[in-house]
């Protein structure tokens, strides 16, 4: 059997502990055997897109050593995924051995292969799926999260007018949340209100990127001042899976 590493990513480890637990829960429910690293550090993505290439190379080198023994690297963070799958090689000329999967891809593969090994209970709520730029436009993964969502009974899904390739950024990309958080959050608020035109009765925004969760959550709290949950797709699944 393949050895699987769950690469958690800084954002989950530092800022989204509850969400991280939900990831664990889902993987366990699905009977996935996986490991985590006790010495996981930054994958180097922020350095890569911040222009700090020397530091990125250093960080990436260490990371590769840690993950290269596994067959599959699984991560709930599309930024980490993109670093491993694309940026290490295109920007640093470094290669990663294991197969790298985003959590959503991985989960969908399992769900679609063992139709009867699990049970999903209905969730009576209205959600919108937000395409993270890193996952969608940059890694071309649009369908898997939607397919997972479509399995959950009773869920009402609001599809905003701009989605997939045309989806509007949460405002947290490109380190803007670190560099200029006010602007970042205003972008998020404008996105939800003016672009996505989220309906009055929306209960939750579901996404697949920790940075999107953080940015949108801030906008909902500070600007929209509404009681809308912002959650990871694993979080949604965790609630439904029995």
């Amino acid at each position: 059997m393949n050895s699987i590493l769950l690469w958690q990513g800084c954002n989950y480890r530092n800022n989204l502990e509850k969400e991280l637990k939900e990831v664990f829960k889902v993987l366990e429910k699905l009977n996935v055997e996986f490991e985590t690293l006790s010495n996981e550090t930054c994958c180097g993505f922020p350095f890569l897109i911040g222009g700090f290439l020397k530091k990125a190379k250093e960080t990436a080198g260490k990371t590769i050593e840690k993950i290269n023994d596994f067959d599959i690297v699984l991560t709930p963070c599309p930024a980490c995924q993109r670093a491993f799958k694309d940026l290490y090689s295109s920007m640093l000329n470094l290669q990663v051995k294991p197969i790298v999967n985003h959590l959503a891809e991985f989960i969908w593969r399992i769900l679609s292969s063992k139709k009867d090994g699990f049970h999903l209970k209905p969730l009576r709520m209205k959600i919108m799926y937000h395409d993270p730029c890193e996952l969608g436009r940059h890694m071309n993964i649009y369908e898997e999260p939607r397919k997972i969502i479509s399995l959950i009974p009773s869920l009402s899904v609001y599809e905003p007018r701009f989605s997939r390739e045309k989806s509007v950024c949460c405002g947290g990309g490109g380190l803007l949340f670190a560099y200029f958080p006010t602007l970042s959050i205003k972008v998020a608020a404008k996105k939800l209100v003016d672009e996505d035109k989220i309906p009055e009765d929306l209960d939750a925004i579901v996404t697949a990127c920790p940075q999107c969760i953080l940015t949108l959550r801030k906008a909902v709290e500070l600007i929209l001042k509404r009681e809308i949950e912002v959650m990871n797709i694993a979080g949604l699944l965790a609630r439904s899976i029995v």
Binding site: I49, G50, V187, K190
Partner: protein, 418 residues
Amino acid sequence: MSIDNEIYGKYLREIGSALRNKFLRLALSRAVKSYRLNRNEAFKLYPYIKDKAERLREIKRHSLKTIDELTKRTKDMVEDLKGNCYLAGDACEAVKYIKSIVKEGETIVKSKSLTMEELNINKELEEMSCEVLETDLGEFIVQHLKSKPMHLLSPAIHISRERVAELLSRLMEKKIPPEIPLLVQEVRKYLRQKFIDANTGLTGANAVAAETGTVLIIENEGNARLVSGLPEKHIVVAGIEKIVPALSDAILVAEVTSRYACYKAPAYINLISGPSKTGDIEKQIVYGVHGPKEFHLILLDNGRREMIKDPVYCQALYCLKCGSCLYECPIYSLISGYFGYVYMGGIGAILTRFLLGGLEKAAPIAYTCTLCGRCREHCPMKIDVPKMMLKLREEAVKNNIAPLKLKENLKSVTGIEI
């Protein structure tokens, strides 16, 4: 003042105040809405426009590869038609050339041109006691309010009708009410006399067709036709990346640019090849009939050849300035032209780096971009702005001007010292 503050401080403060500007927010969402409406209508009318854009991308790619040949043919043709064609290495050379043509104290009319901004020509000509007038309505307003253009196509998008009325009342020395059609009429009147008096007209170009030595100018107001049609001298400033091989390619530029700028059809496309001429009396050719006697085409390098050589940055020169990326940019649609220096938006950062402002002006823009890639989806030329942004940031770091705040923040997030 620290370098970091110099580079980022003022910029961030401007953005901050833009974020608080309610009129700007209203104007922008109005603009975005009408942009999208027009875009849908325009695309419905022209179902093949995406194929045309793809064809044009190939033409642009090929043109940059053969830029030396194309420049030569352009120069040969313009001169053959008794126009003048000057290859300017940088802004300085271009300015010097223009100053050798314009005389002290002339009235000079201009039509909107971003490329001309690289020359800072208004100031230069004003030093020669010339009166320099922007004639595009938005540019005129911005110029007279000493403001900053906020959009490629709608430079005065951030200015209310009331402020325009105030401005015109002052200029015309009479009370003018803030009704838009009336304001337009007053500007028409004011500028009409300037057009008639003008000695020299300055324009940019949307494309230059090498084969025929033809300059193409797209416009809606009809000012470019007067700028290029009434004075004795017409000077065109065009970046070398505007050159395409044939007239049909230039028309493709016009079509794709217009459609992506959401015009069903621009009111005017002007194709100009050399000075006006006639052979109507005894077949003797005379130059300068109803149009200009002198025609000058300045082909500007000013950093472009350096860009062409760079495999990543090169494609920024495909940009048609259609503005399609701007309204769909999450940052631009919030703070408009503050996200930019002279060239706006993400693509503007790259142009700023090479053409006007340099890395120090480009870096703050590069770090304000979310790298979301939405611009690339909307760009007719599929320009990969995020990729170029990464390279810009890399350059900023190499030059030790990455924002301090970011560095600190990254340290606290990752626990790693940069």
